[in-house]
């Protein structure tokens, strides 16, 4: 299938304490490559500081990549001409945020918030605009009368529906969902997840579904990518990743999730915490916590390589 999103060896560093005596470089994302096909959902999982959110933001142009290449719909948004290319595809990209309270301007009526992408794109008369707001509210299952109300009159789950309606306004092809259901209660979460999936089917959307909750990711994704300390460690189809995880980190991560009615098998506890991204260690970033680590893991950075089918993994120990 033709990829609509492609990342090739993308890295992002942030300068911390700029202007202070000792500016430091934080290596948030290092050498990440993957692609997303049309009408596909790629789940991107990892713990805090793994760089998953940074990737999501780079894909919609909030941060420029420090190095590497990002193409959207076949256009390179990095390097020279990147700005123009980004502007050309901007209408086809959208973003859904984690916190539905921060994602809506409290002083803006819901209708205006939903119509904001339309207003920025311009060229809509009052009647069409109003009709479009109504349609969008229908799509996310909110009454049309919501348009003239303010965000504080809605619950968290309803606000997330409003945010989704705003994201749909320009009929995008690709939406980054950054922890889009993490702030919601279980019963609300299921409703919003189902809504996202219905919309995907109806409009042929692609998602990058960023989340730390592995169970939610399993229920929405076509393929799943796992990140650790800024690097991509494994990517595979949903079934392969959950049923045959190859990277020791993926295994530990899946193992660590508490299950209703107890863990299936005895748990292998990961010790310690992720390394500092300001001065990342040489070799495999997971080596310091890896139960299987060998001396070469601490020296040599493992290559991200295919291991059969579309299963890729970055580990020296996987045959």
């Amino acid at each position: 299938m033709n990829p609509i999103v492609e990342l090739a060896e993308v890295s992002k560093t942030f300068a911390l304490g700029r202007g202070s005596r000792r500016p430091q470089l934080l290596h948030a994302v290092s050498d990440v490559s993957f692609s997303i096909a049309a009408e596909e959902t790629l789940g991107l999982v990892g713990e805090s500081g793994s760089g998953k959110s940074t990737i999501g933001r780079m894909l919609v142009g909030v941060y420029p990549a420090t190095s590497g290449r990002i193409s959207l719909f076949g256009r390179d948004i990095t390097g020279s001409g990147g700005k123009a290319n980004l502007a050309a595809v901007r209408r086809r990209l959208q973003f859904v945020f984690q916190d539905p309270h921060a994602a809506l301007n409290p002083r803006m009526q819901v209708g205006d918030a939903i119509a904001e992408p339309l207003d920025i794109a311009g060229g809509l008369d009052r009647r069409t605009r109003l009709a479009r707001i109504g349609d969008l509210l229908d799509m996310v299952g909110l009454p049309r009368s919501s348009a003239e109300r303010y965000p504080h009159e809605f619950s968290g789950g309803q606000r997330q529906r409003i945010v989704i309606a705003r994201a749909l306004a320009l009929k995008p092809d690709f939406i980054v969902c950054d922890e889009a259901v993490s702030a919601l209660d279980v019963s609300m979460q299921a409703q919003v997840v189902n809504l996202l999936m219905d919309l995907q089917r109806e409009f042929g959307l692609s998602y990058l579904f960023i989340a730390h909750d592995l169970a939610v990711v399993r229920s929405v994704s076509t393929r799943v990518a796992v990140m650790y300390a800024g690097s991509l460690v494994e990517i595979a189809s949903r079934k392969a990743l959950y049923e045959n995880p190859l990277h020791p980190y993926t295994r530990a991560l899946l193992d660590a999730v508490p299950r209703v009615k107890g863990a299936a098998k005895p748990r292998q506890m990961l010790q310690g915490e992720p390394p500092s991204l300001i001065d990342p260690p040489a070799g495999c970033r997971f080596a310091s916590r890896c139960p299987l680590a060998e001396p070469r893991c601490r020296v040599e950075t493992p290559k991200f390589r295919p291991v059969g089918g579309d299963h890729h993994v970055a580990c020296h120990l996987v045959a």
Partner: protein, 333 residues
Amino acid sequence: MSESNILEISGLTVEFRSGGRWITAIRDVDLTLAPRQCLGIVGESGSGKSVTALSILRLHPAKSTRIASGRILYQGRDLLAVAPGELARIRGSEIAMIFQDPMSSLNPVLTIGEQIGETLRIHQGLNRADALAKAVGLLDMVRIPDARRRVAEYPHRLSGGMRQRVMIAMAIACRPKILIADEPTTALDVTVQAQILNLLRDLREELGMSVILISHDMGVISEFTDKIAVMYAGQVVEQAVGDGLFDAPMHPYTSGLLRAIPNIDRDVDRLATIPGSIPDAARMVPGCRFHPRCPEALESCRSEAPAMIDLGGLRQTRCPPRAERQGMIGGRS
């Protein structure tokens, strides 16, 4: 029954002030905790699980919250009636508590050693040096590496997981009989969560504590606790010991909740949902509080507020129709 319980909450109703009115946060909560038992309270936001936990040590903001009725018996004394001085003596020494957000729960201007040592100085009358020495031991106990150096550090130098360990060290300093943990791992990553839960399990064993664990995560509750109370909209709706709750939930809310949780061990293409949303405490629905979202609601559910029904075998439900259908009605509690 009361002989065997270390803590008994009965008829607890708590109200908070909002816009000049008193609004009921939790109503008629009954819970018991046996020695060395681990009670899990599970529920979504607004269910009142944290309010219940905070009530035990009366840690609510005093100006905007009031306890309208109820008793909380700890070793025969009503914690809601003891004098402030006596309450301060119990807090931290006999009943300790840890909280959700380890980032904001530690005082930023005091060293870790000072904060842990303070508990010992208050309750065991240790001097500063002895308290600090003992704090090092406690940091070892919660598996913080390099404890001797860490005691002199300030909280902002530690990661979230480390701070939660410090909170735990502080809580167990005086070997309390009860530890209340309010969403202790919600703010943490899943691998760190596993570490912290493991630590709590070991410490509970080692110190013989009773634990009350509050969480929204059924998995955490299921793995960690041996008795479970499900709360919804300010009420306990179901209680069970062991896995019975998961095998045969006796309240439609519990059933719905369990179905709505995405499963990590199975491919599911569409999640089951509970329609509607959690009612607003300021506009509580009449009758059974779950009836507008309940697929099994009867006409009677709309008007009659159901009482807790004892099903025997330490199971209780607040759903009379289901209890009747199962033919399990025993005596009313």
